[in-house]
Assembly symmetry: C2
Homo-oligomer: 367 residues x 2
């Protein structure tokens, strides 16, 4: 030892060293305390025990303040980087078919996927309310890891903040993500042309309805589950048969209606959809009728809206149907030249109505 200490100090020292050695990176508490956000020992133990051990990959385990990723490897997979972020504040944390952890992984994967990117790396930043049971956090982290594994992405860096009881509601998660976009793919809400065809991969409104029911505001028992799922493999399947997809977006908050309005405004076109073609489960339709909701505005977490040139529609549709996430795919509408910026619905009765952007809020904290 290259320092001089008196005997008592040395004893303290050796106890301390022993203590450091014994540190197992285990959380000592059953509930989150402010110390878990301190930057100190409790936080380090929490990170080791919950996140590093769950997410388990060599980049994260370095525990640097940033992940380091080889750029040449990225460039071999495509020519552009896609970069996105989303915060997740869904309430409740667990709901039929999914939970905030899976949602935070799949949601960000889908924001990458709809650009045609192969999702590769995610971050995980949590804001915890003092008093949150550690077991809840552990379940959420496991769910994130399972979703990341299933999708083939790695969670490579993160952050943990704790706020006083009452300054946040249990747990918020932010995930940012990066992926690589294949050369030649150019998907944008600005690319849509009159004559294009609008396709969706399945039933609308399951996620929103599952959350509503999980909140117990309705005395209903149904088997409706969130459609939370990663869409990048479905997107890959589509791009194989049609690299020149015009626009693609997942219909989350604000639902199909919001995506179509964004498309119509960005590309300065009109869009006309047919109510009879839009797949909605009977139970979802029922909940909507009881509550005065419109399934077109209900949130989804695994629904892909694809706009392609008419001559590619059949090939894309049949490719989508060949994939489990697209087996219920169908054509729901078409793009028209005018009036630009407006979405119409042809109702089951043969009339037409305008489907405006969502004004006000249907269901807060849906994702």
């Amino acid at each position: 030892m290259d320092i001089s200490l008196n005997k008592s100090t040395k004893n303290t020292l050796f106890q301390k060293i022993e203590q450091v050695r014994r540190r197992q990176g285990k959380v000592q508490d059953t509930h989150i305390t402010l110390a878990h956000g301190s930057g100190g020992k409790a936080m380090r133990d929490l990170i080791d025990d919950i996140f590093v051990s769950s997410f388990d990959n060599p980049i994260l385990s370095q525990l640097e303040d940033q992940a380091s990723l080889n750029l040449s490897n990225l460039l071999q997979q495509g020519d552009r980087l896609a970069f996105t972020t989303d915060s997740y504040v869904v309430d409740p944390l667990f709901f039929p078919g999914s939970d905030i952890g899976e949602l935070a992984v799949n949601g960000t994967i889908n924001d990458l996927a709809v650009s045609g990117a192969k999702p590769l790396y995610l971050t995980c930043s949590v804001i915890l309310e003092e008093g949150l049971p550690v077991e809840i956090l552990r379940r959420v982290a496991k769910s994130m890891k399972a979703a990341a594994n299933k999708a083939g992405v790695q969670i490579v860096t993160g952050d943990t903040k704790v706020v006083h009881r009452g300054a946040a509601d249990k747990l918020f998660i932010n995930t940012a993500g990066i992926g690589v976009i294949l050369a030649g793919v150019s998907i944008s809400a600005h690319n849509i042309q009159p004559g294009d065809v609008v396709i969706i991969n399945g039933e609308l409104g399951n996620h929103g309805t599952a959350i509503l029911i999980a909140r117990g505001e309705l005395a209903l028992e149904t088997d409706i589950e969130s459609d939370c799922q990663p869409l990048h493999n479905l997107v890959e399947t589509i791009l194989k048969v049609c690299p020149q997809v015009h626009a693609m977006r997942d219909a989350t908050r604000g639902g199909l209606a919001t995506v179509l309005n964004e498309f119509a405004l960005s590309s300065n076109v009109g869009i006309r959809i047919n109510e009879e073609s839009i797949p909605v489960r009977e139970e979802v339709q029922g909940v909507c009728e009881i509550l005065g909701l419109d399934p077109l505005y209900l949130a989804n977490e695994g629904k892909l809206v694809v706009v392609v040139a008419r001559e590619n529609a059949e090939a894309v549709l049949s490719a989508m149907k060949s994939h489990p996430a697209g087996k219920d795919a169908c054509i729901i509408g078409e793009v028209i030249a005018s009036p630009p910026g407006v979405v119409f619905l042809k109702t089951a009765f043969g009339t037409e109505r305008i489907v405006d952007m969502l004004v006000g809020e249907q269901l807060p904290r849906i994702c």
Copy 2:
């Protein structure tokens, strides 16, 4: 027009089109409502008015769900991508010398910079409490833009969530960031060697003290301001004279003590620092004595801890002093072989004490 409508519908339609045309992307409300997180029209107006107009860059203005960045351009600047994230929950939102917006930009820039990366692109994801004055959000966004401009980074994508009153405290921000690490640079907490020298760029504890005083818990008036500043130009200056820096980290939450403990544990070395060499303002020392705090654990938002081989120490020190963010740089300690994992402080009285990792929480919501 290529659709058939009756006269009344047509009138409604034209009014609607007129309405779409008139939409100026202006926030109509003085306070945040749940509708601003709906995914619909109010959210779009908020994003246009507050974020897109403030951050003002062509990548963000696309309003896709992800930013698209040219990989070849990135590869020209270095060989690795650095990727990081941090959530900011600081309370209060505005404090002497800085605010949550500038902090959210500089904090993430610094997490990139300490890997030797040139910071390039940031995301901005906000969680808003219902009832937050829109004016507050506007000020914060302007502050983020100013910080981004000053540092030469772009905010290229984002997300907005709103939660009920009481489910979050005013405003939380997450920024994720990417940057490019120059070829040949390898900075890591695992690289530290016995004999290395520890350098810091200036006074400790100003940020933590400024927050404390801003909270009004002390009836003190001082001119202490947060040291919030971007460190990437200082890092660049250091790397020019010494590309082989061993370790570098910014001393934020948990302060200098936490960074040094992380270094000691990661590299399995001991670290000895000298109290007399550590720059602390008299007022900060005074606040610490009154409150029983230790400046070694106080948060900073512009303090860089650099570990270099002894033979490089003088060159690095003089390079740091040549830069405004490093003018008060000094050597504060050295790395020893044993006992590994332990940090010692040589006090002003000539005794030695162990500087442990922070146990418990000094100041919650400091960043």
